[in-house]
């Protein structure tokens, strides 16, 4: 099978609470959900964001929502202080979900 990018299978949305970002990954087609579960592991997501994740922070977590064929990734520490004190241009991390779409499955 040829290499496919996440954006061909799914859409994403990013939210923030304090210093923790969450990225939902929702497959366009219900039948792709199982492949997503199999391919889009915590390790793959952590590797994609390796440069941005804080090595001191707790690990990335993944939750499954089969009814809506979605995965939810929780990324502690990636906001480097959260919206109130982060030096980041995008302190909310609103653009992170879009960055994830470039992941090669």
């Amino acid at each position: 099978m040829s290499r496919i990018k996440l954006h061909e299978l799914a859409h994403t949305r990013t939210g923030d609470k304090g210093d923790i970002s969450n990225i939902s990954v929702i497959s366009f087609r219900a039948e792709d959900y199982q492949r997503l579960c199999q391919w889009l592991t915590v390790e793959r997501v952590a590797e994609h964001f390796a440069e941005l994740l804080d090595p001191q922070a707790p690990p990335v977590r993944r939750y499954e929502l089969p009814n809506v064929h979605a995965l939810n990734f929780v990324l502690p520490g990636i906001l480097r202080g959260g919206v109130t004190r982060s030096l980041a241009l995008d302190a909310h991390g609103k653009t992170l979900g879009a960055a994830l779409l470039d992941l090669t499955l």
Binding site: G15, G18, S24, I26, A70, L87, T95
Partner: protein, 454 residues
């Protein structure tokens, strides 16, 4: 069967106003809820209130009320459904906000409108009885000393329900958990018990879906060619039609812009959620993991399947405190070689800060258009060099005077840096940070105020 209609009039403090008025006018609503209080907004409002005791509420409160009040109650023509408004625009000063709403109503000749303010979320004095308590950032309250600005508990539905029983038309709160603003009218109208966890979980889901207004009706969604959304310039805000079992249909006013389908609903359901099986509010531990959406018409989605379990024992308190200063400077470069000149500029500024001994706790120096959002590794996936780049240097400093020097060192690139630097900007801002701790429920004294207090 009774169907309750609740609309969402704002997703944040500065949100558009006319979609809320469109809902008030054409949504045949029973309730219009304005959620306007982000995590640290209340700390900023408290700072403003310390300077002027008559402020500290949402800066758009007056304009929103002037526009929406003609539709509240039975409305000026007396023929429509009764519309009530619930909002956390009281921020750090719900009493002054309610006074302002009464003043506007009187000015507009709208007599008989009952305006209620809810207080009790401000727990700063309560917390200070035990200053040794520690926050989730590891610091104690006493260690913050005079940097401490505010402490507000996330209230649940109780106070709002009291105000609804008192027949209030407009209810103004400070810090209340966002979904509780929407759950309260559902519990009041349907008579749901405060420990009927599955129903409270469903009502909380409806609140969670609506609380960011346009984010469920096509905002924060459009991706041309992949996820297209029509007429975002006149995006319609959402409304929910809810039945007594807590099942709901999400829609918007017909003819408004935007898009509501299972994809927009799914994105919003998971927005700002961690464990979908345990979404904690003061009212319930809601479970969204078993929710499903079904399209039931054009821009109409049925939502069902949420559940709930016993609410958390204690209330979350958000503590605002001063945490130093951020100094920032930016400068742009364009044309052939722009990237190399931007990199040279970055190098110069970092060396200058070292050479001149500027003291900072943390610094970021990045090139907007290259590596500012996602770092160098992802940023280098770009296939060609950008035509223009913008250097951005930001540092967190304990001292304001040090923070000022950050922007200055970027600005001096004009005459001391690489060729063709343009459009410099600099800024210094004080950091109002938030941290949290938990407080037993009985430490909070709710009070509903229906009259002005002198």
């Amino acid at each position: 069967m009774k169907i309750l209609r609740i609309g969402s009039g704002a997703g944040y403090s500065g949100d558009r106003i006319e979609p809320a008025i469109e809902l008030a006018e054409h949504g045949q609503l029973d309730y219009l809820v304005f959620e306007c209080l982000a995590e640290r907004t209340i700390a900023l409002a408290q700072q403003a209130r310390l300077v002027d005791p008559e402020v500290g509420f949402d800066p758009l409160l007056s304009e929103r009320m002037r526009r929406v009040l003609p539709f509240v109650g039975k409305g000026v023509d007396g023929t429509r459904r009764r519309l009530r408004v619930i909002t956390n625009m009281g921020a750090a000063n719900p009493l002054a906000a309610a006074r302002e709403v009464r003043r506007i109503a009187a000015q507009m000749g709208l007599s008989g409108l009952k305006v209620a303010a809810l207080t009790g979320d401000d727990v700063l004095q309560t917390l200070l009885r035990d200053p040794s308590q520690t926050l989730d950032n590891g610091k104690s309250l006493e260690a913050l000393g005079d940097q401490l600005i505010s402490a507000n508990a996330y209230l649940g539905v109780e106070g709002i329900i009291q105000a609804l029983h008192a027949d209030a038309d407009v209810i103004i709160t400070g810090r209340v958990a966002d979904p509780s603003l929407f759950l309260a009218p559902q519990m009041f109208e349907f008579g749901w018990a405060a420990d009927d966890w599955p129903l409270l979980g469903r009502g909380t889901l409806v609140g969670h879906l609506l609380e960011c207004a346009g984010q469920i009706s096509g905002g924060y969604f459009a991706d041309p060619g992949v996820k297209d959304v029509p007429d975002l310039e006149r995006l319609g805000f959402p409304l929910a039609e809810i039945d007594v079992t807590g099942n709901a249909v999400i829609s918007k006013v017909s003819g408004s812009g935007g898009r509501i389908d299972t994809a927009t609903c799914t994105e919003q359901m998971i927005y700002e959620v961690h464990d979908p099986a345990a979404y904690l509010t003061p009212d319930v531990s809601a479970d969204f993991s078993t929710v499903s959406f079904a399209s039931v018409g054009f821009n109409e989605v049925r939502v069902q399947g949420a559940d709930g379990r016993t609410r958390p024992e204690s209330l979350k308190v958000s503590v605002g405190f001063l945490d130093g200063w951020i100094g920032e400077g930016q400068m742009s470069y364009g044309g052939p070689g722009a990237l190399a000149r931007g990199r040279l500029a970055r190098d110069i500024v970092l060396k200058r800060l070292k050479l001149t001994g500027v003291v900072f706790d943390e610094i970021r120096a990045e090139l907007i258009g290259v590596d500012a959002l996602h770092g160098n590794e992802l940023g280098s996936r770009a296939e060609s060099e950008p035509w223009e780049v913008r250097l951005r240097v930001a540092a967190r400093c304990a001292d304001k005077t040090e923070a000022i020097r950050i922007g200055n060192e970027v600005e001096t690139l004009y005459t001391n840096g690489p060729y063709g630097g343009g459009g410099a900007s600099k800024s210094v801002r004080q950091i109002v940070a938030v941290a949290s701790l938990f407080l037993p429920r009985d430490e909070v004294a709710l009070q509903v105020h229906l009259e002005d207090i002198a």
